[in-house]
Assembly symmetry: C2
Homo-oligomer: 239 residues x 2
DNA sequence: GTCACAACTTGAAAAATAGTCAATTCTCGT
DNA sequence: ACGAGAATTGACTATTTTTCAAGTTGTGAC
């Protein structure tokens, strides 16, 4: 017998069931499209049961976001296993990010929604801690890669500090994903995908930061497919 | 007598009144905090009157966002008047962005909300066109500056294309503003403001893109306050 | 001045959806 | 098989968005 009783396991499974279905509804119609009556109907439990698992609608949405975030932390951790110069590992983080975006339709929208003050305030503390933890884990992975880069001299010690670089990379990712998740922005960009633009922009940014090897000296575009196949062979298709 | 009749003017003024108050409520409590009963009470008109001006709640929110966006276009246009190398003008765009962010509390959150598919779908077409127009105007300003940079050789013709750079800059702005508008991310960053990190990151990115003069050769940090005072003397304090 | 007409405003009620709770059903140790 | 306690839910309330028909106001023709 496992540590958890059967009942506890069933409870946890149902929590996951609710989150999974809520995720689907959120992806389809955003916050406004998540209707608890509808959700209750699809999971074949009563609405009141949902309220046993979650404090309120906002709490449920945060739970969905935390679920995404945990998967993100897991994917980021895989990036650490890539062998090569640290900047390639940071590059792998970008790939993890991309794979997740394909996985989870409108995932960034949900993540953004979750960080909204008006939503956050209404959620349960346990949920908030889950978020903080996943967040710390993701950032920790990035910090570790940067520490390695500093150690081997690829990143100058007197250059920009770690916080600045993390903020820059998160901003680039978050901003551009939100841009391309919403209504299409650039109608005319048929030859390039949002993904390729994102990758190029990470390269420019890290070149600007002075993280060696610089992209003119190292063909990151050629390396990326290999990293993707090696670290994320289970990458699912977009929903 | 002007082109508009008195009634038309009154109507337009009230539209503005509604938008202004809705903006205040949105800034305070996000989408969830915008209550139409409350809004009707504060503007001292009935709720049904609001529905004469706007198709529905989503339409009103988009109107608020369009209002922000128009102001943004106006501020961006001012950046064009700055004299100096084109990159300084692009730098001025960043300052415009920053001034707006201080102006309008949670403005980026509202802008992001407006680009959400589930919201967009419910809005009136006229509103959508207003958004497109303001968007095109902002982007147009950026493209113009880049054209100037190409013309004088500060930006290599064989380098990254304009769309990539615009997307990079928008992402950096949007991503980092959303990051700092929500709950605080970096507790420990007492010595640096989100604003200074943003500026530094724009500099890194544009250095990476190879837009001359590069930041090590040109003290953009020293120039910024002067640009701000010259172009945005009316900059209001944060709400 | 007044009448007809159109445009505007609104109170009140419908519709939609979040949230609650007492009654019922289920589980499990004895 | 029984009863205590936990889990579940149907049916309810509360809140907020949305509609609509009746009433009001302003306008221009005569």
């Amino acid at each position: 017998m496992s540590i958890l009783t059967r009942k506890q396991r069933e409870w946890a499974e149902r929590t996951q069931l609710i989150i999974r279905e809520a995720d689907r509804l959120l992806a389809a119609g955003g916050y406004l499209g998540l209707n608890l009556d509808e959700l209750a109907a699809t999971i074949e439990y009563s609405k009141a049961t949902i309220y046993n698992h979650f404090k309120n609608k906002e709490d449920l949405v945060l739970a969905v976001a935390v679920d995404h975030f945990r998967r993100r932390a897991e994917y980021f951790a895989r990036a650490l296993t890539h062998d090569g110069p640290p900047r390639e590992r940071m590059c792998a983080i970008g790939i993890a990010d991309e794979v997740l975006a394909h996985h989870i339709c409108n995932g960034f929208e949900v993540m953004q929604l979750a960080r909204t003050k008006s939503l956050w305030e209404k959620t349960a503390e346990a949920q908030q801690l889950g978020w903080q933890e996943a967040s710390a884990q993701c950032m920790g992975t990035c910090y570790e890669i940067m520490a390695q880069a500093r150690a081997c001299g690829d990143l100058a010690p007197d250059g920009p500090n770690d916080e600045t670089i993390v903020m820059g990379l998160i901003s680039l990712s978050k901003g551009s994903h939100l841009l391309s998740e919403g209504l299409p922005l650039f109608e005319g960009m048929n030859d390039v995908t949002p993904e390729s633009v994102r990758f190029r922009n990470y390269d420019f940014y890290l070149d600007g930061v002075g993280w060696k090897p610089l992209s003119p000296d190292h063909d990151y575009d050629a390396i990326r497919p290999a990293i993707r196949d090696a670290l994320f062979p289970d990458a699912e298709q977009p929903v």
